[in-house]
Protein backbone atom coordinates (compact mmCIF):
# COMPACT_ATOMS: atom_id res chain seq x y z
CA UNK A 1 0.00 0.00 0.00
CA UNK A 2 2.74 2.41 0.98
CA UNK A 3 4.61 1.40 -2.16
CA UNK A 4 1.56 2.08 -4.34
CA UNK A 5 1.05 5.42 -2.70
CA UNK A 6 4.66 6.41 -3.26
CA UNK A 7 4.47 5.24 -6.86
CA UNK A 8 1.39 7.40 -7.42
CA UNK A 9 3.12 10.46 -5.96
CA UNK A 10 6.16 9.83 -8.11
CA UNK A 11 4.00 9.47 -11.22
CA UNK A 12 2.16 12.74 -10.58
CA UNK A 13 5.42 14.45 -9.68
CA UNK A 14 7.01 13.23 -12.88
CA UNK A 15 4.06 14.38 -14.96
CA UNK A 16 4.33 17.82 -13.38
CA UNK A 17 8.10 18.03 -13.58
CA UNK A 18 8.84 16.50 -16.97
CA UNK A 19 8.06 19.50 -19.20
CA UNK A 20 9.93 21.75 -16.81
CA UNK A 21 12.97 19.48 -16.74
CA UNK A 22 13.12 19.55 -20.53
CA UNK A 23 12.74 23.32 -20.56
CA UNK A 24 15.49 23.66 -17.96
CA UNK A 25 17.58 21.34 -20.12
CA UNK A 26 17.18 23.28 -23.35
CA UNK A 27 17.81 26.54 -21.49
CA UNK A 28 21.45 25.56 -20.96
CA UNK A 29 22.17 24.56 -24.55
CA UNK A 30 25.33 26.15 -25.76
CA UNK A 31 24.06 27.02 -29.21
CA UNK A 32 20.74 28.38 -30.29
CA UNK A 33 19.30 24.96 -30.92
CA UNK A 34 16.31 23.25 -29.44
CA UNK A 35 18.01 20.11 -28.23
CA UNK A 36 17.58 17.78 -25.30
CA UNK A 37 19.62 16.41 -23.68
CA UNK A 38 21.43 19.75 -23.89
CA UNK A 39 24.47 20.04 -26.08
CA UNK A 40 27.20 21.77 -24.17
CA UNK A 41 26.59 23.94 -21.16
CA UNK A 42 26.02 27.64 -21.05
CA UNK A 43 24.21 30.06 -18.81
CA UNK A 44 24.32 32.74 -21.48
CA UNK A 45 20.59 32.40 -22.18
CA UNK A 46 19.96 33.47 -18.60
CA UNK A 47 22.27 36.42 -19.14
CA UNK A 48 20.30 37.21 -22.27
CA UNK A 49 17.21 38.03 -20.17
CA UNK A 50 19.09 40.93 -18.64
CA UNK A 51 21.51 41.85 -21.42
CA UNK A 52 19.28 41.80 -24.47
CA UNK A 53 17.36 45.09 -24.65
CA UNK A 54 14.10 43.51 -25.80
CA UNK A 55 14.02 40.86 -23.10
CA UNK A 56 15.19 43.26 -20.41
CA UNK A 57 12.51 45.78 -21.31
CA UNK A 58 9.88 43.05 -21.29
CA UNK A 59 11.07 41.83 -17.89
CA UNK A 60 11.05 45.37 -16.56
CA UNK A 61 7.56 45.96 -17.96
CA UNK A 62 6.30 42.73 -16.38
CA UNK A 63 7.82 43.46 -12.97
CA UNK A 64 6.47 47.02 -12.96
CA UNK A 65 3.03 45.86 -14.03
CA UNK A 66 2.97 43.09 -11.42
CA UNK A 67 4.20 45.33 -8.58
CA UNK A 68 1.74 48.13 -9.32
CA UNK A 69 -1.31 46.03 -10.13
CA UNK A 70 -0.86 43.83 -7.07
CA UNK A 71 -0.63 46.97 -4.91
CA UNK A 72 -3.77 48.38 -6.47
CA UNK A 73 -5.58 45.06 -6.05
CA UNK A 74 -4.65 45.13 -2.36
CA UNK A 75 -5.90 48.71 -2.03
CA UNK A 76 -9.24 47.67 -3.47
CA UNK A 77 -9.51 44.48 -1.45
CA UNK A 78 -8.46 45.75 2.00
CA UNK A 79 -11.25 48.27 2.70
CA UNK A 80 -13.80 45.96 1.15
CA UNK A 81 -12.77 42.96 3.24
CA UNK A 82 -12.61 45.14 6.35
CA UNK A 83 -16.06 46.59 5.74
CA UNK A 84 -17.58 43.15 5.19
CA UNK A 85 -16.01 41.94 8.43
CA UNK A 86 -16.90 45.01 10.49
CA UNK A 87 -20.45 45.67 9.33
CA UNK A 88 -23.65 43.80 8.77
CA UNK A 89 -24.67 44.86 5.28
CA UNK A 90 -25.91 41.91 3.27
CA UNK A 91 -26.25 43.92 0.06
CA UNK A 92 -22.54 44.78 0.22
CA UNK A 93 -21.81 41.12 -0.45
CA UNK A 94 -22.53 41.92 -4.07
CA UNK A 95 -19.11 43.60 -4.16
CA UNK A 96 -17.53 40.46 -2.74
CA UNK A 97 -19.16 38.58 -5.59
CA UNK A 98 -17.93 41.17 -8.09
CA UNK A 99 -14.45 40.83 -6.69
CA UNK A 100 -14.45 37.07 -7.14
CA UNK A 101 -16.15 36.99 -10.55
CA UNK A 102 -13.21 38.08 -12.78
CA UNK A 103 -11.05 35.24 -11.56
CA UNK A 104 -13.78 32.61 -11.73
CA UNK A 105 -14.99 33.35 -15.26
CA UNK A 106 -12.88 32.32 -18.24
CA UNK A 107 -10.14 34.97 -18.46
CA UNK A 108 -10.91 35.76 -22.08
CA UNK A 109 -14.21 37.28 -20.94
CA UNK A 110 -12.63 39.77 -18.55
CA UNK A 111 -10.00 40.48 -21.16
CA UNK A 112 -12.52 41.19 -23.89
CA UNK A 113 -14.67 43.28 -21.57
CA UNK A 114 -11.69 45.45 -20.68
CA UNK A 115 -10.63 45.65 -24.32
CA UNK A 116 -14.02 46.99 -25.41
CA UNK A 117 -14.05 49.32 -22.42
CA UNK A 118 -10.61 50.85 -23.04
CA UNK A 119 -11.30 51.06 -26.76
CA UNK A 120 -14.63 52.80 -26.19
CA UNK A 121 -13.25 55.19 -23.60
CA UNK A 122 -10.33 56.07 -25.88
CA UNK A 123 -7.54 55.04 -23.51
CA UNK A 124 -6.70 51.89 -25.42
CA UNK A 125 -3.00 51.07 -25.35
CA UNK A 126 -1.99 53.32 -22.44
CA UNK A 127 0.34 51.39 -20.11
CA UNK A 128 -1.61 52.35 -16.97
CA UNK A 129 -4.72 50.69 -18.33
CA UNK A 130 -2.93 47.36 -17.96
CA UNK A 131 -2.27 48.11 -14.29
CA UNK A 132 -5.96 48.73 -13.61
CA UNK A 133 -6.96 45.75 -15.73
CA UNK A 134 -4.68 43.37 -13.85
CA UNK A 135 -5.69 44.84 -10.49
CA UNK A 136 -9.34 44.11 -11.22
CA UNK A 137 -8.57 40.71 -12.70
CA UNK A 138 -6.55 39.62 -9.67
CA UNK A 139 -8.42 41.46 -6.89
CA UNK A 140 -9.91 38.06 -6.03
CA UNK A 141 -6.64 36.85 -4.51
CA UNK A 142 -6.08 39.52 -1.83
CA UNK A 143 -9.83 39.61 -1.24
CA UNK A 144 -9.93 35.91 -0.42
CA UNK A 145 -6.79 35.89 1.73
CA UNK A 146 -7.88 39.04 3.60
CA UNK A 147 -11.39 37.70 4.24
CA UNK A 148 -9.75 34.60 5.65
CA UNK A 149 -7.43 36.76 7.74
CA UNK A 150 -10.24 38.88 9.15
CA UNK A 151 -12.30 35.84 10.01
CA UNK A 152 -9.33 34.58 12.03
CA UNK A 153 -9.28 37.69 14.24
CA UNK A 154 -10.93 37.23 17.60
CA UNK A 155 -13.53 39.96 17.80
CA UNK A 156 -13.07 40.26 21.55
CA UNK A 157 -9.62 41.74 20.82
CA UNK A 158 -11.35 44.69 19.22
CA UNK A 159 -13.71 44.96 22.17
CA UNK A 160 -10.77 44.85 24.57
CA UNK A 161 -9.08 47.69 22.68
CA UNK A 162 -12.30 49.67 22.79
CA UNK A 163 -12.60 49.25 26.57
CA UNK A 164 -9.10 50.70 26.82
CA UNK A 165 -10.20 53.79 24.96
CA UNK A 166 -9.28 53.18 21.33
CA UNK A 167 -11.64 54.48 18.66
CA UNK A 168 -12.39 52.68 15.41
CA UNK A 169 -9.53 54.22 13.53
CA UNK A 170 -7.01 53.56 16.31
CA UNK A 171 -8.21 49.99 16.67
CA UNK A 172 -7.71 49.45 12.97
CA UNK A 173 -4.20 50.87 13.11
CA UNK A 174 -3.01 49.26 16.34
CA UNK A 175 -4.87 45.94 16.49
CA UNK A 176 -6.43 44.94 13.19
CA UNK A 177 -3.67 46.02 10.83
CA UNK A 178 -0.82 44.17 12.59
CA UNK A 179 -2.90 41.01 12.74
CA UNK A 180 -3.95 41.23 9.12
CA UNK A 181 -0.49 42.11 7.81
CA UNK A 182 0.62 38.53 7.03
CA UNK A 183 -2.52 38.06 4.97
CA UNK A 184 -1.88 41.33 3.15
CA UNK A 185 1.61 40.16 2.29
CA UNK A 186 0.44 36.82 0.97
CA UNK A 187 -2.47 38.38 -0.91
CA UNK A 188 -0.05 40.79 -2.53
CA UNK A 189 2.40 37.99 -3.32
CA UNK A 190 -0.25 35.82 -4.94
CA UNK A 191 -1.48 38.70 -7.10
CA UNK A 192 2.12 39.67 -7.96
CA UNK A 193 3.15 36.23 -9.17
CA UNK A 194 -0.01 35.68 -11.18
CA UNK A 195 0.18 39.12 -12.76
CA UNK A 196 3.77 38.43 -13.73
CA UNK A 197 2.62 35.39 -15.68
CA UNK A 198 -0.65 36.71 -17.06
CA UNK A 199 -0.96 36.86 -20.82
CA UNK A 200 -4.43 37.35 -22.26
CA UNK A 201 -5.62 40.41 -20.32
CA UNK A 202 -2.28 42.14 -20.84
CA UNK A 203 -2.29 41.19 -24.48
CA UNK A 204 -5.80 42.45 -25.14
CA UNK A 205 -5.30 45.74 -23.32
CA UNK A 206 -1.75 46.81 -24.16
CA UNK A 207 -0.51 44.03 -26.44
CA UNK A 208 0.14 46.35 -29.37
CA UNK A 209 1.95 49.05 -27.48
CA UNK A 210 4.10 47.24 -24.97
CA UNK A 211 5.50 43.78 -24.35
CA UNK A 212 5.35 41.99 -21.06
CA UNK A 213 7.40 38.83 -20.78
CA UNK A 214 4.55 36.39 -21.50
CA UNK A 215 3.60 38.49 -24.54
CA UNK A 216 7.21 38.58 -25.62
CA UNK A 217 7.48 34.80 -25.36
CA UNK A 218 4.29 34.31 -27.31
CA UNK A 219 5.45 36.67 -30.04
CA UNK A 220 8.84 34.99 -30.13
CA UNK A 221 7.14 31.60 -30.32
CA UNK A 222 5.37 32.61 -33.49
CA UNK A 223 8.59 33.65 -35.21
CA UNK A 224 10.61 30.63 -34.20
CA UNK A 225 12.58 29.41 -31.27
CA UNK A 226 15.13 31.08 -29.05
CA UNK A 227 16.52 29.46 -25.87
CA UNK A 228 15.79 32.67 -23.97
CA UNK A 229 12.17 31.54 -23.85
CA UNK A 230 13.33 28.52 -21.91
CA UNK A 231 15.54 30.48 -19.56
CA UNK A 232 12.74 32.99 -18.88
CA UNK A 233 10.33 30.16 -18.12
CA UNK A 234 12.78 28.67 -15.63
CA UNK A 235 13.49 32.11 -14.20
CA UNK A 236 9.77 32.78 -13.62
CA UNK A 237 9.24 29.35 -12.15
CA UNK A 238 12.03 30.02 -9.68
CA UNK A 239 10.53 33.38 -8.74
CA UNK A 240 7.14 31.76 -8.13
CA UNK A 241 8.64 28.91 -6.11
CA UNK A 242 10.67 31.44 -4.11
CA UNK A 243 7.67 33.63 -3.33
CA UNK A 244 5.41 30.73 -2.36
CA UNK A 245 8.26 29.14 -0.46
CA UNK A 246 8.67 32.34 1.54
CA UNK A 247 4.96 32.47 2.26
CA UNK A 248 5.15 28.89 3.46
CA UNK A 249 8.23 29.69 5.53
CA UNK A 250 6.82 32.73 7.30
CA UNK A 251 3.11 31.99 7.12
CA UNK A 252 0.77 29.08 7.33
CA UNK A 253 0.34 27.96 3.73
CA UNK A 254 -2.09 25.09 4.40
CA UNK A 255 -4.26 27.46 6.39
CA UNK A 256 -4.09 30.12 3.67
CA UNK A 257 -5.28 27.56 1.16
CA UNK A 258 -8.34 26.92 3.24
CA UNK A 259 -7.26 24.09 5.49
CA UNK A 260 -8.50 25.56 8.74
CA UNK A 261 -8.15 23.80 12.03
CA UNK A 262 -5.10 22.00 13.25
CA UNK A 263 -2.60 20.82 10.69
CA UNK A 264 -1.15 17.38 11.05
Amino acid sequence: MIVLRRLFFVAVGLFLALPLIVVAGVSINEKQTLAFPPQGFSLSWYGEIFLNDDWRNALFASLTLAALSAALALLVALPLAWFLWRRVAPWANIFQLLGIAPFTLPPVITALGLLTFWATSGFYGQPWTAVISHAIFFVTLPLVTLSLGFSAIDRSLVEAAATMGADDRTIFRTVVLPLILPYMVSGYAFAFVLSLNEYIVAYMTVGFTMETLPIKIFNALRYGYTPTMASVTVFFLVIAALVFGLIARFGDLPKLLGAMGEGR
Binding site: L34, V88, P106, V108, L112, I136, R155, I200, I217, L253
Partner: protein
Amino acid sequence: MRREPPQRFADYGPLVFPAAMLVIFFVIPFATMIAVSFFERQQGGFYEPAFVFDNYGRFLSLFFGKVLGFSLFLAMAVAAACVTIGVPFTYLLSRSSRAAQIRWLVALLSILSLSEVMIGFAWSTLLSRTAGITNLFALLGLMEAPQALTPSFGAVMTAMTYQALPYTVLILYPALVRLDPTLTEAARTLGASPFKAFFNVVVPALRNTILATLIMVFIFALGSYLLPQLLGRPQHWTLSVLITDQAIYQSNMPFAAAMAVFLVLVSLSLVGLAVYAGRQKEAA
Protein backbone atom coordinates in the same frame (compact mmCIF):
# COMPACT_ATOMS: atom_id res chain seq x y z
CA MET B 1 -17.01 43.30 18.81
CA ARG B 2 -20.52 42.95 17.59
CA ARG B 3 -20.94 43.36 13.86
CA GLU B 4 -23.44 46.09 13.35
CA PRO B 5 -25.19 47.70 10.40
CA PRO B 6 -23.63 50.98 9.28
CA GLN B 7 -25.01 53.75 11.50
CA ARG B 8 -23.93 56.92 9.80
CA PHE B 9 -23.24 57.81 6.23
CA ALA B 10 -19.53 57.95 7.02
CA ASP B 11 -19.59 54.27 7.97
CA TYR B 12 -19.92 53.49 4.29
CA GLY B 13 -16.63 55.29 3.66
CA PRO B 14 -14.41 52.22 3.28
CA LEU B 15 -16.72 50.86 0.65
CA VAL B 16 -16.46 53.84 -1.72
CA PHE B 17 -13.14 53.13 -3.38
CA PRO B 18 -13.51 49.36 -3.88
CA ALA B 19 -17.09 49.73 -5.05
CA ALA B 20 -16.15 52.46 -7.52
CA MET B 21 -13.23 50.47 -8.89
CA LEU B 22 -15.25 47.31 -9.33
CA VAL B 23 -18.20 49.10 -10.90
CA ILE B 24 -16.16 51.25 -13.25
CA PHE B 25 -13.62 48.67 -14.29
CA PHE B 26 -15.58 45.46 -14.12
CA VAL B 27 -19.31 46.11 -14.33
CA ILE B 28 -19.09 48.84 -16.97
CA PRO B 29 -16.63 46.93 -19.19
CA PHE B 30 -18.90 43.96 -18.89
CA ALA B 31 -21.88 46.06 -19.93
CA THR B 32 -19.82 47.58 -22.76
CA MET B 33 -19.02 44.10 -24.00
CA ILE B 34 -22.69 43.13 -23.93
CA ALA B 35 -23.56 46.32 -25.81
CA VAL B 36 -20.88 45.73 -28.42
CA SER B 37 -22.24 42.25 -28.99
CA PHE B 38 -25.31 43.90 -30.51
CA PHE B 39 -23.31 46.39 -32.61
CA GLU B 40 -22.78 46.23 -36.32
CA ARG B 41 -19.40 45.58 -37.74
CA GLN B 42 -17.99 48.09 -40.22
CA GLN B 43 -15.34 47.56 -42.84
CA GLY B 44 -11.77 47.78 -41.56
CA GLY B 45 -12.36 46.45 -38.12
CA PHE B 46 -14.50 49.21 -36.72
CA TYR B 47 -17.99 48.87 -35.39
CA GLU B 48 -21.03 51.06 -35.01
CA PRO B 49 -23.66 51.31 -32.31
CA ALA B 50 -26.74 49.41 -33.39
CA PHE B 51 -29.08 46.83 -32.03
CA VAL B 52 -28.89 43.77 -34.22
CA PHE B 53 -28.88 40.09 -33.44
CA ASP B 54 -26.68 39.25 -36.43
CA ASN B 55 -23.72 38.36 -34.25
CA TYR B 56 -25.78 35.91 -32.27
CA GLY B 57 -27.33 34.67 -35.50
CA ARG B 58 -23.95 33.38 -36.55
CA PHE B 59 -24.08 30.85 -33.74
CA LEU B 60 -26.51 28.86 -35.83
CA SER B 61 -23.82 27.83 -38.30
CA LEU B 62 -22.44 24.33 -38.45
CA PHE B 63 -18.92 25.67 -37.89
CA PHE B 64 -19.85 27.36 -34.66
CA GLY B 65 -21.77 24.32 -33.51
CA LYS B 66 -18.69 22.18 -34.09
CA VAL B 67 -16.42 24.56 -32.16
CA LEU B 68 -18.87 24.77 -29.30
CA GLY B 69 -19.35 21.03 -29.21
CA PHE B 70 -15.60 20.44 -29.26
CA SER B 71 -14.96 23.06 -26.54
CA LEU B 72 -17.48 21.47 -24.22
CA PHE B 73 -16.18 17.98 -24.96
CA LEU B 74 -12.56 18.99 -24.41
CA ALA B 75 -13.30 20.82 -21.17
CA MET B 76 -15.32 17.87 -19.95
CA ALA B 77 -12.55 15.41 -20.79
CA VAL B 78 -9.93 17.59 -19.06
CA ALA B 79 -12.14 18.02 -15.99
CA ALA B 80 -12.77 14.29 -15.80
CA ALA B 81 -9.05 13.49 -16.14
CA CYS B 82 -8.08 16.07 -13.51
CA VAL B 83 -10.65 14.89 -10.99
CA THR B 84 -9.75 11.24 -11.57
CA ILE B 85 -6.11 11.97 -10.79
CA GLY B 86 -6.76 14.81 -8.36
CA VAL B 87 -9.12 13.18 -5.87
CA PRO B 88 -6.90 10.24 -4.87
CA PHE B 89 -3.83 12.45 -5.07
CA THR B 90 -5.26 15.18 -2.85
CA TYR B 91 -6.61 12.57 -0.45
CA LEU B 92 -3.18 11.01 -0.05
CA LEU B 93 -1.61 14.46 0.17
CA SER B 94 -3.97 15.53 2.95
CA ARG B 95 -2.88 12.45 4.91
CA SER B 96 0.83 13.19 4.44
CA SER B 97 3.08 14.98 6.89
CA ARG B 98 2.74 18.72 7.11
CA ALA B 99 6.20 19.27 5.64
CA ALA B 100 5.39 17.11 2.62
CA GLN B 101 2.10 18.92 2.16
CA ILE B 102 3.83 22.29 2.15
CA ARG B 103 6.42 21.17 -0.41
CA TRP B 104 3.71 19.93 -2.75
CA LEU B 105 1.60 23.03 -2.25
CA VAL B 106 4.51 25.30 -3.14
CA ALA B 107 5.19 23.23 -6.26
CA LEU B 108 1.54 23.17 -7.28
CA LEU B 109 1.13 26.91 -6.75
CA SER B 110 4.26 27.60 -8.79
CA ILE B 111 2.98 25.54 -11.70
CA LEU B 112 -0.50 26.98 -11.40
CA SER B 113 0.87 30.49 -11.64
CA LEU B 114 3.01 29.60 -14.63
CA SER B 115 1.86 31.50 -17.70
CA GLU B 116 -0.20 29.54 -20.20
CA VAL B 117 2.34 30.69 -22.77
CA MET B 118 5.12 29.02 -20.85
CA ILE B 119 3.15 25.83 -20.27
CA GLY B 120 2.41 25.72 -23.99
CA PHE B 121 6.05 26.28 -24.80
CA ALA B 122 7.20 23.64 -22.31
CA TRP B 123 4.87 21.00 -23.68
CA SER B 124 5.62 21.82 -27.29
CA THR B 125 9.29 21.31 -26.41
CA LEU B 126 8.64 18.07 -24.54
CA LEU B 127 6.59 16.75 -27.44
CA SER B 128 8.89 18.06 -30.16
CA ARG B 129 11.01 15.91 -32.41
CA THR B 130 14.35 17.50 -31.61
CA ALA B 131 14.19 17.93 -27.83
CA GLY B 132 11.25 15.83 -26.84
CA ILE B 133 10.41 12.75 -24.89
CA THR B 134 10.58 10.60 -28.02
CA ASN B 135 14.33 11.04 -27.98
CA LEU B 136 14.31 9.21 -24.69
CA PHE B 137 12.07 6.49 -26.12
CA ALA B 138 14.36 6.15 -29.11
CA LEU B 139 17.35 5.95 -26.80
CA LEU B 140 15.70 3.18 -24.81
CA GLY B 141 14.82 1.38 -28.02
CA LEU B 142 11.08 1.79 -27.54
CA MET B 143 10.86 3.76 -30.75
CA GLU B 144 12.87 3.70 -33.94
CA ALA B 145 13.37 7.39 -34.36
CA PRO B 146 12.25 10.44 -32.42
CA GLN B 147 9.12 12.07 -33.79
CA ALA B 148 6.98 15.10 -33.16
CA LEU B 149 3.86 14.46 -31.09
CA THR B 150 2.30 17.82 -31.86
CA PRO B 151 0.03 19.12 -33.18
CA SER B 152 -2.48 16.58 -31.98
CA PHE B 153 -5.52 16.20 -29.81
CA GLY B 154 -3.52 14.19 -27.31
CA ALA B 155 -1.05 17.04 -26.92
CA VAL B 156 -3.81 19.60 -26.29
CA MET B 157 -5.54 17.30 -23.83
CA THR B 158 -2.34 16.45 -21.94
CA ALA B 159 -1.16 20.03 -21.63
CA MET B 160 -4.58 21.25 -20.51
CA THR B 161 -4.72 18.49 -17.90
CA TYR B 162 -1.27 19.62 -16.79
CA GLN B 163 -2.48 23.20 -16.50
CA ALA B 164 -5.68 22.33 -14.65
CA LEU B 165 -4.38 19.63 -12.29
CA PRO B 166 -2.80 22.01 -9.74
CA TYR B 167 -6.03 24.02 -9.78
CA THR B 168 -8.01 20.83 -9.15
CA VAL B 169 -5.82 19.80 -6.24
CA LEU B 170 -6.02 23.26 -4.66
CA ILE B 171 -9.83 23.29 -4.88
CA LEU B 172 -10.11 19.80 -3.41
CA TYR B 173 -7.50 20.38 -0.72
CA PRO B 174 -9.58 22.22 1.94
CA ALA B 175 -12.43 19.73 1.80
CA LEU B 176 -10.11 16.75 1.98
CA VAL B 177 -8.05 18.16 4.82
CA ARG B 178 -11.22 18.76 6.79
CA LEU B 179 -12.52 15.28 6.11
CA ASP B 180 -12.59 13.48 9.45
CA PRO B 181 -9.66 11.00 9.26
CA THR B 182 -11.45 8.65 11.63
CA LEU B 183 -14.06 7.99 8.92
CA THR B 184 -11.59 5.88 6.93
CA GLU B 185 -10.13 4.44 10.11
CA ALA B 186 -13.61 3.38 11.16
CA ALA B 187 -14.14 1.77 7.75
CA ARG B 188 -10.88 -0.13 8.22
CA THR B 189 -11.81 -1.39 11.70
CA LEU B 190 -15.06 -2.59 10.13
CA GLY B 191 -13.16 -4.66 7.62
CA ALA B 192 -12.66 -2.42 4.58
CA SER B 193 -9.27 -2.49 2.85
CA PRO B 194 -7.70 0.94 2.26
CA PHE B 195 -8.92 0.84 -1.38
CA LYS B 196 -12.44 -0.11 -0.37
CA ALA B 197 -12.43 2.53 2.34
CA PHE B 198 -11.45 5.17 -0.23
CA PHE B 199 -14.18 4.25 -2.69
CA ASN B 200 -16.82 3.36 -0.07
CA VAL B 201 -16.32 6.22 2.31
CA VAL B 202 -14.14 9.06 1.02
CA VAL B 203 -15.64 9.35 -2.45
CA PRO B 204 -19.32 9.12 -1.40
CA ALA B 205 -18.79 11.40 1.59
CA LEU B 206 -17.28 13.99 -0.77
CA ARG B 207 -19.72 13.39 -3.62
CA ASN B 208 -20.89 16.99 -3.75
CA THR B 209 -17.43 18.46 -3.33
CA ILE B 210 -16.23 16.31 -6.22
CA LEU B 211 -19.15 17.38 -8.38
CA ALA B 212 -18.52 21.05 -7.60
CA THR B 213 -14.82 20.57 -8.37
CA LEU B 214 -15.64 18.90 -11.65
CA ILE B 215 -17.67 21.93 -12.65
CA MET B 216 -15.04 24.44 -11.51
CA VAL B 217 -12.32 22.64 -13.45
CA PHE B 218 -14.63 22.43 -16.44
CA ILE B 219 -14.97 26.22 -16.42
CA PHE B 220 -11.23 26.59 -15.92
CA ALA B 221 -10.56 24.35 -18.92
CA LEU B 222 -13.16 26.23 -20.95
CA GLY B 223 -11.03 29.33 -20.45
CA SER B 224 -7.89 27.82 -21.94
CA TYR B 225 -7.07 29.96 -24.99
CA LEU B 226 -3.46 29.29 -25.92
CA LEU B 227 -2.83 25.59 -25.55
CA PRO B 228 -5.27 24.54 -28.29
CA GLN B 229 -3.60 27.09 -30.57
CA LEU B 230 -0.04 26.10 -29.75
CA LEU B 231 -0.44 22.34 -29.57
CA GLY B 232 -3.46 21.53 -31.71
CA ARG B 233 -4.72 21.78 -35.25
CA PRO B 234 -7.40 24.28 -36.22
CA GLN B 235 -10.11 21.69 -35.62
CA HIS B 236 -8.95 21.61 -31.98
CA TRP B 237 -9.68 25.26 -31.45
CA THR B 238 -12.05 26.11 -28.65
CA LEU B 239 -14.51 28.92 -28.07
CA SER B 240 -11.89 30.87 -26.09
CA VAL B 241 -9.45 30.62 -28.99
CA LEU B 242 -12.13 31.68 -31.42
CA ILE B 243 -13.01 34.72 -29.30
CA THR B 244 -9.36 35.79 -29.14
CA ASP B 245 -8.97 35.18 -32.86
CA GLN B 246 -12.06 37.19 -33.79
CA ALA B 247 -11.21 40.05 -31.44
CA ILE B 248 -7.53 40.42 -32.32
CA TYR B 249 -6.84 38.99 -35.74
CA GLN B 250 -10.18 39.23 -37.52
CA SER B 251 -10.99 42.51 -35.80
CA ASN B 252 -14.59 41.48 -35.47
CA MET B 253 -15.33 42.82 -32.02
CA PRO B 254 -19.11 42.47 -32.12
CA PHE B 255 -18.92 38.78 -32.99
CA ALA B 256 -16.19 38.17 -30.40
CA ALA B 257 -18.31 39.98 -27.81
CA ALA B 258 -21.37 37.93 -28.68
CA MET B 259 -19.40 34.72 -28.23
CA ALA B 260 -17.98 36.00 -24.94
CA VAL B 261 -21.48 36.78 -23.68
CA PHE B 262 -22.47 33.27 -24.65
CA LEU B 263 -19.47 31.86 -22.78
CA VAL B 264 -20.40 33.91 -19.71
CA LEU B 265 -23.90 32.49 -19.76
CA VAL B 266 -22.58 28.95 -20.02
CA SER B 267 -20.04 29.57 -17.23
CA LEU B 268 -22.47 31.36 -14.93
CA SER B 269 -25.06 28.65 -15.17
CA LEU B 270 -22.33 26.15 -14.36
CA VAL B 271 -21.09 28.23 -11.41
CA GLY B 272 -24.68 28.32 -10.21
CA LEU B 273 -24.76 24.56 -10.46
CA ALA B 274 -21.46 24.27 -8.58
CA VAL B 275 -22.68 26.56 -5.79
CA TYR B 276 -25.89 24.53 -5.62
CA ALA B 277 -23.88 21.30 -5.39
CA GLY B 278 -21.75 22.90 -2.65
CA ARG B 279 -24.89 23.88 -0.71
CA GLN B 280 -26.20 20.32 -0.89
CA LYS B 281 -23.06 19.23 0.89
CA GLU B 282 -23.87 21.34 3.94
CA ALA B 283 -27.47 20.24 3.92
CA ALA B 284 -26.63 16.55 3.74
